[in-house]
Amino acid sequence: MKFGVVVFPGSNCDHDAWFAVQHNLGHQAEFIWHDSTRLGDADAVILPGGFSYGDYLRCGAIAKFSPVMNAVRAFAAAGGPVLGICNGFQILVEAGLLPGALVRNRGLKFICEPVQLRCETTACGFTSTYAKGQILRVPIAHGEGCYVADPRTLDELAAEDRIVFRYVENPNGSLGDIAGILNRERNVLGMMPHPERAADPLMGSTDGLGVFQSMVQSFARVASARS
């Protein structure tokens, strides 16, 4: 399986994502520059963490106009799996591929620490290798990770089983303790915590690797259904 890792000016977790896929997972990863209008032959796309365009205006607000985002939109619309991590999640909500918004942490501080996440659903191509209710130890590193949405959207997310991860202890004020959500079609996941930083034994946790393993598993299932 081939993962495309989009590189925006200011991305800084692109190499971590590449390493997790290439070394920890043993699959292929390729960088895609932000002004590319095509994704090549990528089977899945990762929007990595960082500070695209210096977080100018709002986090992800400038990145959503990058040429590559039209290709990402088309890829997602065709059912391709898209994983947005941290700044990648912020870009996905700014681009309207996921509902809600991410605002300044309630406590105003940039928080960089390992947190506990609860996997709330395994009914998607990103968490099928976890157990529902499983607690994962994965780091967060963000200043604007407080998830907000209107009450109707929050109800909809819960009713449609689209809340994938919740914080066990809410670090940033996110409504509903939300750490990661899916789009309605369940092929786009945005999450503030960094699974790629918990993918190697050296990093103190490999709990995040399951996200990438699930993507591989889901891809294999789709491929075998096609053949």
Binding site: A101, V148, G173
Partner: protein, 81 residues
């Protein structure tokens, strides 16, 4: 023609920076401050020859698509000849 665009959080969205500024003002003795909301201000210079109606339409589109995130923010603007 110049446009001044003001962007601020919707009343329903918590503004922790505004809260921090308010408490700083309180600690300086400005006890009359009930609330502070922090926002953004843009000054946009438009090419001459644009009608007011067209300028209004363009600024509206800019605010909707770029300057503000309508999910969490409101905006208002004024045009200055």
């Amino acid at each position: 023609m110049k446009a001044r665009v003001y962007v601020s959080f919707k009343p329903t969205v918590l503004d922790p920076q505004g809260v921090a500024v308010r408490s700083a003002l309180h600690s300086l003795g400005f006890d009359q401050v009930d609330d502070v909301r922090q926002g953004k201000f843009f000054e946009i210079l438009l090419a001459g020859g644009l009608s007011a109606a067209e300028a209004r339409r363009q600024i509206e589109a800019m605010a909707q698509d770029v300057l503000a995130n309508p999910v969490i923010e409101d905006y208002q603007f004024e045009l200055i000849e």
